[in-house]
């Protein structure tokens, strides 16, 4: 086992779902290293929020980005070096509020990055305000009477944006989540994993999640219709089971591969040739 520990004191609340996610990530990274992907070629990109502290707890390459900008920063890294394997960690607020444009465009482009969205269904580090996936009626400090907005379904959103890999995991199902991460890394193109997690301080839904989640299987991973059925089984608001697993997977040429393909190694720029057209 590669030692990925750091000396930084973990400041997540006891019982936080992030611990399970961190454990799954460590297992996944170790598996990648065992399979011959060098640790130097793995980069963790994080956003801002409790979840994003993960970069301080993993002794790997990392870029601790701005709020909402982790996905696009990760795209820039992949563009510069397509050999890198990139894991992006961000919360539901970063992905679906502050940075939603980058999420949609990264999915549309098929940027070859792996986005792991910690979904605790509110802004936690700022002590509890509603996000785009908070259930209607959520009472937070900014909505003492309850949020009046309906939540959006993030998986439906990324499917519409043409994400080529869509999955859902749960922070308490570590082995299952590890496997989702590995499948995502193996997938060439944009991967989106939503990870349901409780926020023990502001939205402790662990019992609800334990009761509702089940491991689903989509026998036809390339079917948008089948994927949509699973994605819509739970509407983030009312009743219904919460399926976990890979819902959609379809190969498509990754954006950065396409963008890099005309480059010729060590070729000098032909400036004089261009100047001739200016005479």
């Amino acid at each position: 086992m590669e030692n990925l520990e750091t000396k930084i004191t973990n400041t997540w609340c006891p019982g936080c779902g992030n611990f399970g996610i961190l454990q799954a990530v460590k297992l996944a990274i170790n598996n990648l290293i065992e399979r011959g992907i060098s640790k130097e070629n793995i980069v963790i990109v994080s956003d801002i929020g409790c979840n994003s502290k993960i970069v301080d707890y993993l002794n790997t390459n990392s870029f601790y980005s701005l709020h909402g900008r982790s996905i696009i920063t990760a795209m820039g890294i992949k563009m510069a070096n397509p050999n890198l394997k990139i894991l992006v960690f961000l919360g539901d607020g970063a992905a679906l509020d502050e940075g939603i444009s980058h999420l949609i465009h990264a999915a549309k482009r098929n940027s070859d990055i792996n986005v792991i969205m910690h979904n605790n269904r509110l802004f936690a580090l700022t002590t509890g305000q509603f996000t785009a996936v908070s259930p209607k009626g959520l009472k937070g400090k900014s909505t003492p009477e309850g949020s009046i907005e309906e939540p959006i379904n993030p998986l439906e959103l990324v499917l519409a944006a043409n994400s080529s890999f869509i999955a859902r995991g749960y922070s308490s199902k570590i082995e299952h989540l590890k496997n989702l991460i590995l499948e995502a890394v193996d997938h060439k193109g944009f991967s989106f994993i939503e990870v349901m997690q409780p926020c023990v301080s502001f939205f402790n839904n662990i019992q609800f999640l334990n009761e509702k989640v089940y491991e689903a299987v989509n026998p036809e991973l390339g079917s948008r219709e089948k994927a949509l059925t699973l994605i819509k089984e739970w509407n983030y608001n009312g009743e219904g089971k919460i399926p976990l697993g890979i819902f959609y997977k379809k190969d498509r040429i990754p954006f950065e591969e396409e963008m890099n393909k005309h480059l010729v190694k060590d070729k000098k720029p032909e400036i004089e040739k261009c100047l001739q057209t200016h005479l």
Binding site: F63, N83, L84, L263, P269, I271, L275
Partner: protein, 553 residues
């Protein structure tokens, strides 16, 4: 006509958007260029696709002049509106070249653009070729020179165009003969093209942008030549994406540049702060246009100086350089890319519409002064810390893929890049950056950060920056004044500016904004401006306009 031997000609060519006046203007500029004249083109266009009124002003002169005159010697009209709008700008003995199929007038050179084009089976845009040919004949340009220029510029349908040109050429009389000068032509480049080339020469790998006038043509030019230059050019969803992806690419070791204008630059400022905190090299081209907000979007302004100098939240120094012509734009985009990497910092090249989109005679030798300079890299042996403390505040760079753990961050951090909050740790890192800022300031000594021209003994001096340089320099020289041009504005080149001020007892500031922003910058550095000449109609000063204003002081 008294126009021969003048060696300083102004041509206005205009028409509705979509009529091709800009391209026709460029061909005329190239004709003059090939006759040995120094050429400068000012473009005036509106924010629309079809209709309206667009025009180019071409100045062809002996010696370098990057400004426009009040009066034109030749007015070439693709439509009637051009004559209505510009006839008053014509010299008394000036010549109007027009389409006599559409416009009835006694004076001037009428060419039957529609008849010729139709009879020879051309399409209507080829009327522009007939106009250029008629003009060429009227001013005594040889057919061979004209044919040569047309062949270079008009790839598609060239034979038909030449047929049309020949007819118009034959049907027109010669009114004067413009003298050929014995000067080899230099390439004609817009400011934006020069910026692109400078960055490419300094090792640009990736250009990210979102379209915004007047920076868009950098995106177009680099995209057109992406294979020639062996670079990636990528248009993204917004300017926030643009700056953050550039920072990501630089973290992974690739030299990245972004380009935008006021509103887009405003969106980038959060990222500029990130580049400073994470110490990630980033070159930003900020081409100013009129504001506030959407303003007069296809016209120029120098009103984002203070904003640029203060862009990004937090305490940090970024390089800000404002070049004044295409040569300087090329040199400084290359230099700033190198400096961004040497000091791992955001660097901003501050230009404006009249610099970005005007066309200049370009000196190839500038490119020889630019090379890719290597930054300080990790030696591959010591335990790596992205923010390792050092005497000069610069921590060696390593990239993902190297045998190191490379942790970059937007948070305050320790030497390894882990987040910290403790007082001592915060001070350590802030002071490391402060030492780096001092080094950035020292770098100025090796640069020509302030230029001095004109009568160096004059007690009266003119100061101007950016695209206003061209006209201010010309007028200052004409009036026997000293001319001071600050190029680097942050860090401020105090020593060089103080030296330039030696013997000056009256300083006149010339700039294109309403508040006199450069005065505030100079005042911060103990330099007193005695008089301000400001222009804020979003058009450049003409030589005569500025001369009159300067004489009245």
């Amino acid at each position: 006509m008294g126009m021969e031997n003048k060696k300083d000609y102004s041509v206005i060519i205009g028409g509705a958007a979509g009529q091709g006046s800009r391209k026709a203007g460029l061909i005329i500029a190239k004709l003059f260029n090939n006759l040995g004249y120094n050429v400068f083109i000012y473009e005036d266009y509106q924010s629309l696709i079809k209709g309206g009124h667009n025009f180019s002003v071409i100045r062809a002169s002996e010696g370098q002049k990057f400004s426009i005159r009040e009066k034109a010697d030749f007015l070439l009209s693709l439509n009637e509106e051009t004559i209505d709008k510009h006839e008053k700008s014509l010299q008394k003995n000036g010549l109007i070249v027009f389409n006599k199929d559409k416009i009835k007038r006694e004076k001037g050179v009428g060419i039957a653009l529609d008849t010729i084009t139709k009879e020879l089976g051309g399409i209507s845009i080829m009327g522009n070729t007939a106009l250029i040919a008629g003009f060429s004949k009227a001013v005594g340009i040889e057919w061979e020179d004209l044919e040569d220029a047309l062949r270079k510029e008009l790839g598609k349908g060239i034979e038909k165009n030449l047929e049309i040109a020949k007819r118009a050429y034959e049907e027109t009389n010669t009114f004067l003969k413009i003298e050929k000068l014995k000067v080899e032509p230099d390439p004609l480049l817009t400011g934006n093209e020069a910026i692109a080339l400078g960055a490419v020469k300094a090792g640009l790998d990736i250009y990210y942008a979102y379209p915004m006038t007047p920076a868009t043509s950098i995106l177009h030019y680099l995209a057109e030549h992406a294979k020639d230059f062996n670079i990636i050019v990528s248009q993204l969803e917004n300017e926030i994406a643009v700056i953050n992806s550039a920072i990501g690419s630089a973290y992974a070791g690739k030299r990245s540049m972004v380009g935008t204008s006021g509103g887009g630059f405003a969106l980038m400022t959060e990222g500029i702060s990130l580049a400073a905190q994470s110490e990630t090299p980033t070159l930003i081209i900020n081409s100013q246009r009129s504001g506030p907000a959407t303003g007069v979007p296809t016209y120029s302004s120098q009103a984002d100086l203070l904003f640029t100098l203060n862009s990004g939240h937090g305490d940090f120094v970024r390089f800000v350089v404002a070049p004044g012509d295409a040569n300087e734009s090329c040199y400084w985009s290359g230099k700033l890319l190198n400096l961004a990497w040497k000091y791992q910092t955001p660097a901003i090249l501050l230009v404006d519409k009249d610099l970005s989109e005007s066309t200049f005679e370009f000196d190839r030798k500038v490119l020889d002064q630019i090379k890719k300079e290597n930054p300080v890299l990790w030696n591959g042996k010591d335990e790596y810390g992205r923010y390792a403390d050092s005497k000069n505040g610069i921590s060696p760079l390593a990239f993902p893929g190297d045998k190191a753990v490379v942790k970059a961050t937007s948070y305050e951090h320790d030497e390894k890049g882990f987040s910290i909050e403790e007082s001592e740790a915060v001070i350590l890192m802030q002071e490391k950056r402060l030492r780096k800022f001092e080094e950035m300031e020292k770098e100025i000594d090796s640069l020509e950060a302030v230029k001095v021209y004109g009568n160096k003994n004059s007690k009266k001096a003119v100061v101007a920056w950016g695209s206003t340089k061209g006209v201010a320099l010309e007028v200052a020289e004409k009036l026997g004044l000293k001319f001071i041009q600050p190029l680097m504005i942050q860090p401020f080149p105090q020593k060089q500016f103080d030296k330039a001020m030696k013997g000056v007892d009256k300083l006149i500031l010339v700039e294109c904004n309403a508040l006199g922003q450069m005065e505030k910058v100079l005042r911060c550095h103990g330099i007193k401006v005695d008089k301000k000449i400001l222009k804020y109609d979003m058009r450049p000063f003409t030589v005569e306009e500025l001369e009159k204003k300067l004489k009245s002081i």
